[in-house]
């Protein structure tokens, strides 16, 4: 595979760009693989990548029912941060954020990581105390965050209204190395690197059944035929319940719609990410100039990738309060994704009742930021059959054992 570089662009400029090749191949599936991953979202692709990169396991297929990255990975608002409260969360999200820092170089693919800083506004006394606590927790965890004053908030984000009609800004939890990245590029970059290692990425191929013998998975049935595997990884976000059903177990997961929207592009007016969890909305500006907006998830089970209109209204209302200047902006597009919510709002990276089947899900409204770290931890689990330190706490047995990783209080808004 030819490397991407400034030199390559110059070379291609002299020959009508005729030398670029497909970023990843589209092979027909073989009959069997060492590892089959279901779901070519960011988490599935990153899992495959680190299986090859860290453990030398390359006889791998990633099977995707639609197009690569067409699930939540291509539908999210790309916020990257690691200022979580609980230790296991901070560990995996910070690992992930750190991997993002050099991912473009690592993959030789520009994922446009932009550590522009993320602030979470404190708009009630309760929220302020909560973030002061998180700041202390983050200091112990080695995650760089700082609680900043309203004046600092205003300096970092001049378009903000500190004295909103309902909730004045009392400060913010600021993570200077949080930010955004280009979501599709993360999926594409991993896919290209996987393909380069000889892995098969099989798009337009839905898994329809899971064959089991003596408590082990022997093969998956797909719309392109039966594919045998020595190990199976299920990484399908909102569709985890359906895959678990095929594998004969149940999950502590419910699928609901989460929406986002973008405005018409405007001149640069905001170079940080702002999250307002009390009024329930968040916003950043994309490199194209669109204001990227998100808010709360719907409350009912849904597989339509289409959310309820009133949630958009609530989100926009909250953000107009926070950023009065957006009140005249026209919205360009709106869409939804199906997110997989667990009881404690933390993910699952886990063994399953089937010996050679592993599952990664439950990232819900906030798993884009976790793609590299999650793939890193999931690859280790699949390769060794046992979780490493990053994944161990995220076993799904925690619900039975009462060892919750409760982030529902810490992260009031969906992001």
């Amino acid at each position: 595979m030819p490397r991407y570089s400034a030199f390559a662009i110059a070379r291609e400029a002299f020959r009508q760009h005729s030398g670029w090749t497909q970023a990843w191949k589209s092979p027909e599936p073989r009959n069997a693989y060492d590892v089959v991953i279901v779901g070519a979202g960011g988490h599935g692709l990153a899992t495959a990548y680190y299986l090859g990169h860290r453990f030398g396991i390359r006889n791998v297929a990633v099977i995707e029912k639609g197009w690569l990255g067409g699930g939540n990975t291509g539908r999210n608002t790309t916020i990257i941060r690691s200022n979580y409260l609980q230790d296991p969360s901070a560990a995996i999200y910070e690992k992930s954020r750190a991997l993002y820092e050099t991912l473009s170089q690592q993959l030789n693919y520009n994922i446009m990581f932009s550590p522009r800083g993320v602030m979470m506004l404190a708009q009630t006394e309760h929220e302020k105390r909560g973030y002061l606590r998180t700041e202390r927790a983050n200091a112990l965890q080695g995650v760089e965050t700082r609680f900043i004053s309203p004046a600092e908030v205003k300096k970092l984000c001049p378009i903000i209204n500190l004295d909103g009609p309902r909730y004045p800004v009392l400060g913010a939890l600021w993570q200077p190395r949080g930010g955004t990245a280009r979501h599709d590029a993360v999926a594409w970059g991993y896919a290209r690197a996987c393909s380069d290692m000889g892995m098969h990425i099989i798009e337009q191929c839905a898994v329809t059944g899971i064959e089991r013998i003596n408590g082990q998975v022997s093969a998956v049935n797909t719309t392109k035929g039966r594919i045998a595997c020595a190990k199976l990884g299920i990484v399908v976000a909102g569709h985890s319940g359906a895959l678990a059903d095929m594998a004969g177990f149940r999950l502590p997961v419910e699928s609901v719609a989460l929406q986002a929207l973008v405005s018409e592009p405007v001149k640069p007016c905001m170079d940080v990410v702002v999250m307002a969890n009390t009024v329930h909305g968040y916003m950043s500006q994309s490199d194209k100039g669109e204001m990227v907006i998100g808010g709360g998830a719907d409350g009912f089970n849904n597989y339509t990738q289409r959310g309820s209109w009133h949630h958009i209204e609530e989100t926009v209302r909250a953000l107009i309060e926070t950023f009065p200047m957006i009140s005249r902006l026209k919205m360009l597009r709106q869409w939804g994704g199906i997110v997989d919510m667990t009881g404690d709002r933390s993910p699952i990276i886990s063994k399953t009742p089937l010996g050679n089947c592993f599952i990664n899900c439950g990232w819900g409204t906030g798993g884009f930021k976790a793609i590299p770290g999650s793939g890193w931890a999931m690859a280790e689990l699949i390769a060794k059959g046992e979780p490493g330190p990053l994944a161990a706490e995220f076993a799904m047995t925690r619900f039975r054992e009462g060892r919750f990783i409760d982030e529902s209080v810490a992260a009031g808004v969906a992001h």
Binding site: A242, R250, E254, D298, G299, T304, R306, H310, E401
Partner: protein, 106 residues
């Protein structure tokens, strides 16, 4: 926007008047039950693609909890019924079975 009918006060309204409450007909396991039963009651869910029985509350109306049958893929509401039952009413089940021949049943 879902449109639901409250089986208590008979009002038909948009979903903003109601609050969703998750899977219906869960069998409650309390103190003294096995860990597995308690876990499945508290956390594990069917989360089906298709027919779903679920709880709703008429939050901005009469305030009562009721139950609904709905398709999570098409968002079609098959019907609503009162909460004082451990299984969906037979006529509703028959309607769903007719509309969704592949449905595995309650």
């Amino acid at each position: 926007m879902l449109v639901l009918t409250c089986p208590y006060c008979g009002i038909t309204a948009e979903e903003t008047e109601f609050k969703p409450g998750g899977e219906a007909h869960l069998k409650r396991f309390g103190p003294g039950s096995s860990d597995a039963d308690y876990e499945s009651y508290m956390f594990n869910r069917k989360n089906p693609r298709g027919v779903h029985f679920e709880r709703w509350r008429h939050a901005y109306g009469c305030g009562k909890w009721f139950l609904a049958a709905r398709d999570t893929v098409t968002l079609e509401v098959f019907g609503t019924y009162r909460a004082q039952t451990t299984t969906p009413p037979a006529d509703l089940v028959a309607t769903i079975a007719q509309k969704r021949p592949d449905w595995e049943g309650v």
